[in-house]
Each structure stands twice: as C-alpha cells, then as structure tokens.
C-alpha cells in the first residue's frame, strides 16, 4: 500500500509543477502588465516604463522567469504584484480565508450528500427520493453566482424578519470587531453560514446523485442478501457491508470535486466579499498580474494534490484489494 500511495503522491507533485508552469507561461504570454501604466493620462515618462519593465523582468524569456520565480518561491518568496506589493504578505491570510470556506463547505457537502444519497436509495421512488431528485436537478442547473445571490437575498429577508442581523453577507468578519474571543467566534460564524451554503449545496446535489446510484447497485447485490441471511440486521448489513462498498467509487469523485471548488470559490468569495484566493485570482486577471495568477494556481494545484492523495488513502482504506497489495 505504501508503494501505491507514494507513487500517487509523486504523480500529483509532477502534475502540480506542470500546472503552475502552464499557468505561468500562458499568463506571461497573454498579459500585458504595463497596460495600466501605458494608459495613464498624462503618459508617464519612458524611464518609468523601462524601470517597471526591468522590475517585472519582461525582457527575459519566460522559462527563465519561471525558474527564477520558482527558486524564490522555494524560499517562501512569491514575488511582488505589478504594483509592487509582496505577494507573501497576503498569501497566508487569503489562503486561510479560502481554506476555512472550502473545508467547512466540502465537509458539509460530502457528509450531507452521502447521507441524502443513501437515504434516497433506501427509499427509492418514495417521497424523499423524489424530493431529493428534484432538489439536486434544480441545484445542478443553478450556477454558483445565482445561488449565492439568492442566498444573499434570503439572508436579507431573514434579517428583516428577525429584526436584527442574524446572518452577514459581506466579508468574513465584522471590520474592527471589538469583543471577547467567544463573541468573535459567533461573529465569524454568522459570516460563514451563507457562503458555506453556497459552496456546499451544489456538492450535496452532485454527491447525492452519485451516492444514490452507487448505493442502488449495492442494494441489489448478492453479498448484501448473504449478509442478511447469515443473521445481520438490515441496518447493520446496509451500513457495514453496503455503504462501505458504495463509498469506493465516491472516493475518486471527492478529489475531483475538490478540484472544482476553486471555481465555485471564485464566485462565492466575490459575491460575499471574502478576500480569499478566488477573489485574488479575478483581481489578478483583471490587473494582468502573472505572479498572482501563478500563486493562485499553485494553491489550487496543492489543494487537488492533497485531496487527491487523501482520496487515494481513503480508497486504499476502503478497498482491501489495494490495501493488501
């Protein structure tokens, strides 16, 4: 098993590296970071533009720039933005903001998604199953930005109904919050609920569909009947024999889903005003800033690496054919 996991890890690390290289190269080719400077009115003197050009190392070939960036990045220095702000300063806080959103959202999405999927497989063609099906079809057809906007309006109505601010929908904490640690935690939670729902609902819809069909395959299988025939209760057979088998194909899906998270996170962070990595990416493209784009890609790639590898571990833990190899 160790060999299998080590192999997979190596595979992901290489992919990460290539992904960042591709993003860096494409960004360097398409972006013109000097455009903001050139469009100034009155136009800045030629020396200023030349200095900026040298500072951004625009005259060097792209592979050379990438190697330079990578060497610095290995020491924890990810370069500066076009405007000259060091990227590393913002990286930690932004990554933290995004991770909080992603981890809580994904955990909620996976747990509820699997639970809904199992429930609707066991109660196939009953009310619960139909309700879950309709719910997930509509959600899967709703883009994250529409969903996030609707949640925002819902939160506003809830606040009006309650007469006080129950849920916040701007930022991840009230600016200049004064109060005890417990009060701050509550404040952060109030900010967290709506964006997390925006991230989690789509995942619940996706995972519940797959879990339902995986569970239905298992429900009709012989080994489940055998387990019950040898005296296990239906509940016990379903959960120890059925769910475990049905989770195996899901493990790959979780990793895939985590990779798509950054895309969903971009919209959620933008709409709820969270200064996370997704928000940074949009800013980076708008400012035509290669370093920001590269760092966000690295972040996304590392996320996929970790989640992909964790799902391999999960896969190995669930499937003895791999564990015992």
């Amino acid at each position: 098993m160790a060999r299998f996991l080590a192999q997979r890890l190596l595979n992901y690390v290489v992919l990460c590296f290539i992904a960042v290289f591709v993003a860096f190269t494409l960004a360097s080719l398409t972006f013109n970071p000097l455009s903001a400077l050139l469009e100034r009115n009155p136009p800045p003197p030629a020396e200023v533009i030349e200095a900026k050009r040298a500072e951004l190392r625009l005259d060097e070939p792209i592979p050379e720039r990438f190697v330079g960036w990578l060497a610095d990045a290995a020491h924890g220095d990810f370069g500066t933005t076009v405007t000259g702000v060091p990227i590393t300063d913002q990286l930690v806080s932004r990554a933290g903001v995004s991770l909080r959103l992603f981890i809580v959202g994904t955990t909620l999405g996976i747990v509820v998604g699997v639970a809904v999927g199992v429930a609707s497989a066991i109660r196939q063609y009953r009310f619960l199953d139909y309700a879950a099906t309709v719910f997930s079809f509509v959600l899967l057809s709703t883009p994250v930005f529409v969903l996030a906007a609707l949640l925002k309006f819902g939160g506003l109505h809830l606040n009006e109904a309650a007469g006080t601010t129950v849920l916040y929908f701007q930022g991840e904490v009230t600016p200049s919050f004064q109060g005890s640690a417990a009060a701050e935690l509550v404040d952060r939670l109030q900010h967290l609920i709506l964006p997390t729902l925006a991230i989690a609902l789509g995942q619940i819809a996706l995972y519940s569909r797959y879990q339902r069909s995986a569970m239905l395959d298992v429900l009709g299988s012989d080994f489940l009947r055998t387990a019950q025939a040898k005296g296990l209760t239906r509940r016990k057979a379903l959960f120890t024999h059925g769910l475990r088998t049905a989770l195996i194909p899901m493990a790959t899906l979780f990793a895939f889903g985590f990779g798509l998270l950054l895309t969903g996170g971009v919209f959620t962070e933008r709409i709820f005003g969270w200064f996370g990595m997704g928000d940074w990416f949009v800013y980076g493209v708008q400012q035509q800033d290669t370093n920001i784009v590269a760092v966000v890609t690295l972040f996304a790639a590392v996320l996929v690496l970790i989640s992909g590898w964790l799902s391999d571990v999960l896969y190995a833990a669930l499937d003895p054919r791999i564990r015992l190899r």
Binding site: N11, L15, A149, L262
Partner: protein, 314 residues
C-alpha cells in the same frame, strides 16, 4: 405477424407524441432501435418537458425581439431603472436599455454558445478518445496526461487567464476556447469504450481486410457508441452554458457591447435587491435553459439504457 397491416395499437402513441404517423408499411413486430429509443424518451415526462422548453426558449429568443419595440443596444432616455411595464416588458436598466431585448439577445448568445460548444467538444472527445483507445501507446499516455492536468488546472482558470487575448475579438474564439478545454472527461469515457470495441470481431475483420485505421474509427467504432455521444453532447450543452455564463459574469467571456445571460447577471447583481428585474429574468432563463438540457440528457440516458451510468463514473 409479418403482415403489413397497419396496426391500430401503435397509433395512439404516435398521435400523443404529435409526430406524423409512420408509413403504413411498417412491420409491427420488429420495432427498430431508433423508434424504441424515441418511444422510451417520449414516455419520460420530465425529459419531454425539457425538450419542449428548449424549443420554446429558442423560439422565444429569436422571435421575441421581433415583437419588441426596442433593440438590445438601444437606449430609452426617458426611462431609467423603470420596473416592467407595457412599454418595457422586463423594465429598463440604469442607462435606459430595455431588459427584455437584452435578455432575449443574451439568451440567443447563451443558447448558441451552449449548442456549439456541446457539439464541438463531443466531436473532439469522440475523435481523440477513440484514437487514444484504438492506437494505445503514446497517444494514449498523452491524452490521459492532459486529462489529469486539466483536473489540477481547471478549465475556468485557463480560459480566464487567456481572456485578455480575445478581448475585442469575435465571440467564436470564446466558443472554440470553451470546446477545446471541455472534452477531456468525455474523451476518457470514449477511450474506455474503444478499448473494449477494439477487440470485437467486426473490428478485427475490418482490420484484416486492410481498412485504414481512421476509417475503422469513423465507420465501426464511433457509430457503436453513438448513444453515449448523443447523451454527452446534450449534457455538455448545459455544462457549456454554465461555463460561458460564469466566465462572462466576470467579463472574461462574451465582451460588451454584446451580451450573454452571464454578463447580464453580472451587471444586474449589485442592484438586484432593490431592482429585481435586472437580475431575475436573466437568472431565471439561465436556470431554466440549463435544467432543460439536463433533463433531456437524463431522459436520453434512460431511453438508450446505455450503461453510461457506469461509464460516467470513470
């Protein structure tokens, strides 16, 4: 039962479907696979509803503007931010543009982009996936590698990064972009199916007769998975509409002065709380369009009964 008498038993079904009655020469006992699929599809009410809605949306998008007194790029300087009225059916924006005309124009763009991207990306997936599966070796390895890479580097990020390069260019480049970064998962499924088809007798026979490889792929392998390809094309149309609107939402897709549902939602979102018509119509049409494509795809999957549920997991 091999008489050529027109059996009345089949009549109600065709009549209910509203399709023209088949030629009376049809033999009742042997129903062709195509007819079987159509019949199964028509029995699936949500799928038929999806199909009807898609047709209606197209009709609405292209015929609606003909009845509207306003064009999508025309401004009414006497009506800023007006709620829906007899004059402006969906209201007006901050600068006096007619929301109905804009929504119809956006719907046109989104639907056309969705259909084009769905067709092109499925075509690409079919050709590349079949080639990888059929030839194996290096072709195969490179394909699998690209699929893995796109898993780490989502298409959304790539197209967003490339977006400055097609600013001011035709929207067809954007279509191409969406298609070029959208075929990978389907190609993986096609590859898997090709691996099994490659070993079948009719393929071996063709190979020994000296039929060139590209011809085997086009004549023997791809037609045998047409059901999967049709399903995939439908599903990818919905996915493409979502991707297009997401990118356009940030201004990374369809460029002004042209509009798509994504740009309209992006523009209307900030003031949607006070002026709901800026957001509600475009968002509503977007969800309905994607939902309809998904329902059709799901209905087709059931109708073909192709073991695609298994294949999709791969």
């Amino acid at each position: 039962m091999s008489t050529s008498i027109d059996r009345p038993g089949t009549a109600p079904e065709t009549a209910a479907a509203g399709s023209p009655v088949e030629a009376p020469a049809q033999v009742a006992t042997s129903v062709s696979r195509g007819r079987l699929v159509v019949r199964r599809f028509l029995r699936n009410r949500p799928a038929v509803a999806g199909l009807v809605v898609v047709v209606l949306l197209f009709a609405f998008a292209y015929l609606g503007p003909l009845f509207s007194p306003w064009a999508y790029d025309e401004l009414d300087y006497s009506a800023f931010l007006q709620p829906p009225s007899a004059e402006h059916w969906f209201g007006t924006t901050q600068i006096g543009a007619d929301v109905f005309a804009q929504t119809m124009r956006g719907l046109q763009k989104s639907l056309v982009i969705g259909v084009l991207v769905g067709l092109i990306s499925t075509g690409l997936a079919a050709v590349v996936g079949a080639a990888a599966g059929y030839f194996g070796g290096w072709t195969d390895r490179v394909l699998m590698w690209v699929v893995d890479l796109l898993l780490v580097l989502p298409a959304f990020l790539v197209i967003a990064i490339l977006s400055p390069s097609f600013r001011g260019a035709t929207w067809l480049i954007f279509v191409l972009m969406l298609a070029v970064f959208g075929w990978m998962i389907a190609a993986r499924i096609v590859r898997g199916l090709t691996l099994t088809l490659r070993e079948r007798e009719f393929v071996t026979a063709a190979r020994f007769m000296g039929v060139p490889a590209w011809r085997i792929i086009l004549r023997h392998i791809l037609p045998n998975m047409s059901s999967i390809l049709i399903i995939d094309a439908t599903i990818s149309m919905g996915v493409a509409i979502l991707a297009e609107s997401g990118l356009s939402f940030f201004g990374f897709g369809v460029q002004p002065p042209d509009v798509s549902l994504g740009t309209l939602i992006g523009a209307g979102l900030d003031s949607a709380q006070t002026f709901p018509w800026l957001f509600a119509f475009s968002a509503g049409f977007l969800v309905v369009a994607v939902l309809s494509f998904n329902l059709i795809g799901d209905g087709l999957r059931d109708a073909f009964d192709a073991g695609s549920r298994q294949a999709r997991k791969a």
